[in-house]
């Protein structure tokens, strides 16, 4: 779930971790009531500051994705219908933005990008 998190990125580690967990909840990898790894476990496994994990879990709690039960652990909450799908569309937007930014940086035009996308998908969208 946390493969490829990048401490060198300008996106803070806690935000990257929270995003991965949100995604896992959105796509059903983590179902309702599933428990997240303990702070100690995840900090040791990823070799990151425990405060970073705590911050990620707190943000997720604030956003309503998990519930922190002190002494017991952190659990995925029952989500309102449609919330998972909404989260996935949100993720799609993020991915497209990343792609567009990368294309701009490397001087790839929108038309070229669209052609490549069509070839990859094997369909004509226009």
């Amino acid at each position: 779930m946390f493969h490829g998190i990048d401490p060198r990125s300008s996106i803070p580690l806690y935000a990257q971790i929270a995003e991965r967990i949100r995604l896992a909840i959105a796509n059903g990898t983590l179902s309702s009531a599933a428990s997240l790894p303990s702070v100690r476990q995840l900090a040791a496994e990823l070799r990151i500051n425990p405060a970073t994990v705590t911050q990620a879990y707190r943000d997720l709690e604030e956003q309503g994705f998990v519930e922190i039960r002190h002494g017991a652990g952190t659990f995925v909450r029952e989500l309102a219908p449609g919330r998972r799908a909404r989260e996935r569309s949100q993720q799609a937007v993020t991915l497209v933005r990343k792609l567009l930014a990368e294309a701009r940086r490397s001087g790839v035009s929108l038309a070229e990008l669209q052609r490549a996308l069509e070839t990859e998908l094997g369909v004509k969208t226009a």
Binding site: R8, S9, R40, A44, I48, N49, A51
Partner: protein, 298 residues
């Protein structure tokens, strides 16, 4: 106690070759504090001053609330220290060294020692002198953690070790911090490793502290800008210009410190344009900061 380590106006000199001047350093309790700097910048000397192994000419050092070196006996019983070079008796076995160390620390946690012995796959009966470099480093970490200090002072604990050993050591350190909430003060050349674990970072060069700030603030504040049409002289900008050179192609490449996105309009008011704002990682930021510091002080 808000600071695990507080250093104020510290002055230290040995001979005429090297001195630490006007050092102010405050390490928040509970932080993992990365201490960066090139070889010979004064990192190890600072660490030895913190531990009371050297005496400053002037200034004040407080560790875990007590004055150093005056209270070193009280302080050192709560500080785990891993020096750059292991200093243990090569003729003793791993088990003997553990028992020896244990006798000095009232808070010693034998359960943790046993756990780490197993996790690190160390053999109690092996002579210290016969251990590999990685095994020696792991034993030093074991000893520092089992004494259950509130502060760990680690001088390049993983530099020069293979990635598997580095992983094992960092894993043990992070598990320890999550359980005990201790402060870690760690110096290293392995910038990417510090970037992973530290929430504070300080940079030292030539006996002086160049910068000290929360990691996120440091990384957010340092950017590379591609700027076109900038005037030659820029007076009193709201950010620091660490480097400025002609970029290949159009415009100039700047490296700025204390940057905030809102400052883009400042550059535009000068009649210039910011073509691109590029994030730097800790290593790039560190190198640019040193480069600029040396340019100014020379």
């Amino acid at each position: 106690m808000t600071h695990a380590i507080a250093i104020d106006r510290l002055h230290y000199r040995v001979g005429t070759a090297f001195e630490i001047r006007d050092l102010d350093l405050h390490v928040p309790a509970g932080s993992i504090y990365g201490f960066l700097g090139p070889n010979g910048s004064g990192k190890t000397t600072t660490i030895r001053l913190i531990l009371g192994l050297l005496r400053p000419l002037s200034g004040r050092i407080t560790v875990l609330g007590d004055a150093m070196p005056e209270q070193h006996a009280r302080v050192l019983s709560r500080v785990g220290y891993v020096p750059e070079q292991p200093h243990l008796d090569v003729t003793l076995t791993v088990g003997e060294l553990i028992d020896f160390q244990r006798a000095f620390y009232t808070r010693w946690d034998q359960h943790r020692a046993a756990e780490l012995l197993a996790a690190f796959e160390l053999d109690r009966d092996r002579l210290f002198g016969r251990l590999s470099k990685g095994q020696k480093a792991k034993l030093m970490i074991l000893l520092a953690l089992a004494q259950c200090g509130d502060l760990l002072v680690l001088d390049e604990p993983t530099d020069g070790l293979d990635p598997v050993v580095r992983r094992d050591i960092l894993r043990a350190l992070m598990a320890y911090v999550s359980e005990r909430g201790a402060t870690i003060f760690i110096s290293s050349h392995l910038v990417h490793e510090l970037e992973r674990v530290c929430d504070w970072v300080a940079v030292m060069d030539n006996g002086r502290l160049i910068t000290a700030s929360p990691m996120e603030k440091f990384k957010h504040g340092i950017k590379r800008l591609v700027v076109t049409g900038a005037p030659r002289d820029i007076v009193d900008p709201p950010f620091r210009i660490l480097a400025r050179e002609a970029a290949n192609g159009a415009g100039e490449s700047w490296v700025v410190g204390d940057w905030d996105p809102a400052m883009q309009s400042y550059i535009e008011r000068l009649g210039a344009a910011v073509r691109e704002v590029i994030d730097l990682d800790l290593e790039d930021g560190f190198v640019e900061l040193l480069r600029s510091f040396r340019g100014v002080s020379r």
